[in-house]
Symmetry: C2
Subunit: 386 residues, 2 copies
């Protein structure tokens, strides 16, 4: 079996680790020969997902096309699908991960819980003052397409600032998504996998810590109570039904005083699910591959009572990961995952997962190794300050 992956980042790399075990050959469409996954792939096409020829060339070499990221061209994908290529998730599903406006409209129409929102499309005028007054200042403005890891998200305090951001988005022909700024008690993520035959599994819901729009740690179960978990799983199941996902999908949620609201969707293995490699019977990477190949899905049960996964980031001082590795590995309970990247300030370089019986202990263990690998500890994450 041959799986084509659009994108050559760490998600593709970790998919390939799972592919090897199932005897699956991967073909990558990577932007650059230095992408994280190319070091482990013998079949790499260098090209852009916005180039129909490159995409066709990928399709020609595999049984199914799937994704490492969502910065793709849905029209090209729709044409590939129309001419018989298996694209999973299907472009009609992927739309809801690519386009936050479409996601809000469609999930909203299905009654799924979301912040209040308004779309301001390019070429339209809107009374931003009135919209902002209605949503409440400050207002969150998002680029409907193209943002990730906090990019393309703006918090604006007044109508003038809103007008500047909206004009900037419209200049790039991008719809502006205005949302009420909800008061977040905690951030959660619910991870599901679904195959075309209808097999459906959900992993335990996780708590994530985001700093500056970037995920820094994932705790399972963290502060997620059984009641919250049940509600989050139920939302994720309904989202999966509405969007008809094939593959792994992460539903990012905010816990607010008025309940859970959906933040956004990702239709691929997700940073909030890296813990599954070491903390659940089947990893998100393996179940993603099984899903897109329409194979039965593996158990999502946890293998320990508590799991913490901490992202490894480059700091402002030069650092060689190889120098940090011996100390990181001294921590016998920590599972170190590196993406083969060199350290640069703010660059996501890997993650460390620890499993065990005690919530704070696994968190400390994971941070200990992440810190040994040069990760700066954000002020916001106080419990693990060294």
């Amino acid at each position: 079996m041959r799986v084509g992956i659009v994108g050559g980042g760490q998600l593709a790399r970790m998919m390939m680790e799972s592919a090897s075990a199932l005897g699956i050959q991967c073909v990558l469409l990577a932007e650059s020969e230095s992408d994280a996954a190319t070091q482990f792939c013998t079949e790499v096409i260098i090209g852009s997902p916005h180039d129909p020829t490159a995409m066709q060339s990928l399709a020609d070499r595999c049984d199914v096309v799937t994704f490492d990221h969502e910065l793709v061209d849905l029209e090209i994908l729709a044409e590939l699908a129309a001419s018989g290529t298996l694209v999973r998730p299907r472009p009609t599903s992927l739309l809801f991960a690519v386009d936050k406006a479409a996601m809000r409209v469609t999930l909203g129409a299905s009654g799924l819980p979301m912040p209040r929102f308004v779309l301001v499309e390019p070429g339209t005028d809107a009374d931003l003052g009135a919209l902002g007054d209605d949503l409440g200042w400050p207002v969150v403005i998002k680029a409907a397409r193209g943002g990730y890891d906090g990019r393309g998200v703006y918090i604006v305090d007044d109508p003038n600032e809103a007008a500047r951001v909206v004009a900037e988005l419209h200049a790039h022909n991008t719809t502006a998504l205005l949302e009420e700024r909800v008061v977040i008690i905690s951030e959660l993520a619910a991870l599901v996998a679904r195959n075309p035959s209808g097999d459906f599994v959900t992993w335990p819901v996780v708590e994530t810590a985001q700093v500056g729009g970037v995920c820094r740690e994932v705790l399972v179960p963290g502060s997620v109570s059984p009641e919250l978990e049940a509600r989050a799983r139920s939302i994720a199941e309904r989202v999966a039904d509405v969007v008809g996902v094939e593959g792994v999908m992460a539903v990012e949620l905010f816990e607010t005083s008025e309940g859970l609201v959906i933040n956004e969707l990702a239709m691929r293995p997700h940073n909030s699910g890296h813990w599954t490699q070491d903390g659940s019977v089947t990893s998100q990477f393996q179940n993603h591959l099984r899903s897109v190949l329409d194979l039965p899905l593996g158990s999502t049960e946890m293998t320990a009572a508590h799991v913490a996964s901490v992202n490894v980031f480059g700091s402002d001082t030069p650092f060689d990961l190889d120098d940090g590795l011996p100390t990181a590995l001294l921590n016998a309970e920590a599972h170190v995952h590196l993406y083969g990247k060199s350290s640069r300030p703010g660059r996501k370089l890997g993650h460390v997962t620890a499993t065990g019986a005690d919530a704070l202990e696994v968190r400390r263990q994971a941070w200990k190794s992440a810190i040994a690998l040069g990760t700066p500890v954000p002020d916001q994450i106080r419990e693990v300050q060294p």
Copy 2:
């Protein structure tokens, strides 16, 4: 960090899955472009370990050279080591895995428990009748070098047959190792890892089921009592000291009515340790890489009370593994590992590992998936007959 691997089989392939997670780049010396590991390696040298130029070319491209198999040329390795290449395990240790005669003599001299044995070297005459009478008929005759998976092992009933086998070995310039045929109560394997700094870990001792000299299943702990486990671990620790291994080493043991005796050694990840991928905190593949790079070693604790790992073999009828995979994966608790090989009669194609609370249940689960992948069940393994 760059690790060179001599051999491109499934052990190299699974080392590379672990290497990816640690950000380690592997370079393979493979005999053929169709070897199992080449599908996942971007740096492959096609060549033989018996060719000094190919070996030098491998050494030039990595920080340390290690092994997927022991069918190597110790003189070439000694020259590489003498000129500064890190070869791990060192050729002086590897000798005891390559050469069963050297292993018997050296471990015997250290008082380690072994069957009684006699060496008959090429160019020497021996009274095989008297030797056999002393050891007891039938006698086991082994090629000192070059055999594996039961090849190069002969059970002979009388002096004439012994003479034929010895003459055949001598014709290939191979020493004949004559051993008493011990009565085997059970077969065990003790797996250790040791790094050059002296870190040393042992995994729980396993029971193996060999049929026709080939490992069919591995049970942890199987029938291994705590007392037997302690004795086996202690023997493995002493062997590691005597041979000075760097990397993973498997000590294969026979349980006899007179206690444990050493059968043979492997100095690399070993089939009896594949269960560690899914049943222990750190897999043998990851700890092998850590050992040869002199990194701290990971925990060898089990993640479940019972683990069974069953090898997937090709049967006499043509079979496409892709056809069996959906049924094999229906078994949500089983971890399927395939080596990217096509099915041929008697060919080792993969393994399935199941973990859980009940010994018989994990065994049945692992066999269920292995059978779905076309594995014939040997008559000798009755408990899991479908």
